[in-house]
Symmetry: C2
Subunit: 358 residues, 2 copies
């Protein structure tokens, strides 16, 4: 049996960090006979420059026939004045939607070795381990109608539509409750049910699913403004959070930043069969692209998530996670997580350090 992985490095530091993750996969592939096969494709700005579209047909085809996708990052200053329809981001959004990768898992974990990097007080974030589950193929990101129209008085009006059906809410709720079951058994659903009818339906459906299927999971609800506040006030109160696409975008970035080291955080975007796209939660960082100083650990840890969720190889995933820990314990740091007394290394040297710890 072969396991096909589509490799989409994308833009900015994407190529550099993905190269290190592939190095790690190559090593494990040989060492553990994982049967992984790689095929490369273009996405985002790189695809736009080559083909005039951020999401070429052949990339979609490649992604569809793959079992898993490893993505670097998309976007950059270079393409910022393009229309939304052909921006690099559209490649990423297209993949999520076409492959129905509706469940986005974004862990926010504080590495004790890097605890000092958090802007929050140590006692507030020590031991932080939150899982944010973001709905990824619905909501206002994809709702129709959308666009800009001309009003009768001659002025422009921009509009987008937030929309969720019961079945879309149900399937993400199941993922969230099941994730909570495997963790501390607590799920907090985030909405704005006091103002938006769409999220009132969200709250109702999540509540029903909980009562019917997961009565043992402790379910709570927060309005999004309060949830954002609580993440800053007392983040350790949370185990698993589940929310809609737009709120999840914001809350997962807050959670990530609480750890102080977003260069460390992976993510998984799964479909109903656990086929998945894996990517670091950080972006393409055009300001440091090409310098060989980006942190590849978030991408390497994304590969660990891939092995665990799509390929059911927790053993291999665990080896990667331990090797990352070992590299940190050996005081090896890329620039973004460097502090006094540590050894500052390049992107490539960090990849090597992980491999030698495997």
């Amino acid at each position: 049996m072969t396991n096909k992985i589509a490799i989409l490095p994308g833009d900015g530091i994407g190529t550099e960090i993905v190269a290190e993750a592939v190095k790690v996969l190559d090593f494990l592939n040989a060492d553990m006979a994982l049967g992984l096969e790689f095929e490369y494709g273009l996405i985002g700005g790189a695809a736009y420059d080559a083909h005039g579209t951020p999401f070429p047909e052949q990339t979609l085809a490649l992604a569809k026939q793959a079992d898993a996708i490893l993505l670097g990052a998309v976007g950059g200053y270079k393409w910022e004045s393009l229309d939304i329809a052909v921006r690099p981001e559209k490649g990423l959004l297209g993949l999520r939607s076409e492959l129905q990768l509706f469940a986005n898992l974004r862990p926010a974990i504080l590495y004790p070795q890097l605890a000092a990097a958090s802007t929050l007080k140590p006692e507030v974030v020590a031991g932080l381990d939150i899982m944010i589950i973001r709905e990824l193929t619905g909501g206002i990101y994809f709702g129709q109608p959308r666009g800009v129209r001309l009003l009768e008085n001659g002025e422009k009006q921009g509009y987008n539509t937030l929309v969720y059906s019961e079945s879309e809410i149900r399937r993400i709720a199941h993922v969230a409750f099941q994730t909570a079951q495997k963790r501390q058994g607590r799920l907090c659903s985030v909405d704005k049910a006091n103002v938006l009818e769409c999220t009132e339906l969200w709250r109702q459906v999540v509540t029903e699913i909980g009562k019917q299927y997961y009565p043992e999971v402790g379910l709570s609800h927060l309005y999004v403004d309060n949830a954002a506040m609580q993440l800053v006030r007392a983040p350790k109160q949370f185990d698993v959070l589940v929310t809609s696409n737009m709120f999840g975008d914001i809350l997962s970035d807050i959670s990530a930043m609480l750890t102080g080291s977003i260069g460390m955080l992976p993510s998984a975007s799964l479909d109903a069969a656990n086929k998945g796209m894996y990517e670091p939660i950080h972006g393409s960082a055009p300001d440091i692209a090409g310098k060989g100083i980006a942190n590849p650990l978030a991408t390497i840890l994304s590969v660990a998530m891939m092995l665990r969720y799509t390929f059911n190889r927790s053993d291999a995933a665990g080896r990667i996670e331990q090797a990352v820990n070992a590299a940190l314990n050996a005081n090896i740091r890329t620039a973004d997580i460097y502090s006094d007394g540590m050894q500052k290394v390049s992107t490539c040297a960090m990849g090597d350090a992980v491999i030698s710890a495997l």
Copy 2:
């Protein structure tokens, strides 16, 4: 000349904290001949219980003929299962919309006396002074169509509409640029222009207004996820932030929480003629309502904003702000801002402390 103030205490701790703010106003009214007249009305859950609607006609009439409105807070567990259309929140949203209070000013200031209450490291928040300007009468809070419909397959679908016209964006942009002019001259506009067409228009219009009328103000743009992150990473990089209704709801609560003392933060919601509604940014806190322990300072400071923005009495506003500072310097604290060695006082005693410092 008389200056009419509509007093709408609302729910939960609303009545307790508004009573203290009125005490302060009464004192200044006598002391400085401000010519203020008060009239009370019902809003939110209190209005729903009395009249079956959170936003009675007579309250709207009262608010319309007043020059300024002082609001406590609305909402509570008691009304949480009501439909959105009759929830306490609807009273607040109705007022904002009917009076076209489109410019919501939410300062986030760290009081040096309370610096220890922040969950962020002292060096990250020392001296924090941000002004968030939130568009308050448009966006997804008010967009049509909205509701829950039945799909052909029998399942429900919830939907809301995010919508902004050029003129709505222009008027809030003017307020934001002018606020930045009076401060450090830096404005950051927050959107999700890489995904949502509506906020792409937002970015264009804000950029145009800046070029045409305020070339001396330093304008930057951030995507909302990044803005939320930056607020946690390095909040002092910001001077004035301007954003849409929903994003402003979230970002202003984050900023408030950075200070560690949301019981201290006032807000103003202004129309085109600086008629305004003034309220603390915190909520109705039903868990501590009726205990006489709530912090009235955010409401008292809201009254200072009222005197400054609506009544052009910066002198009176300054006196209140100095008196609040004096009370803090005298180590007087309500429970929410209490720490070892301080003197813990009731809501009423805090009001008295401010008055005796006036």
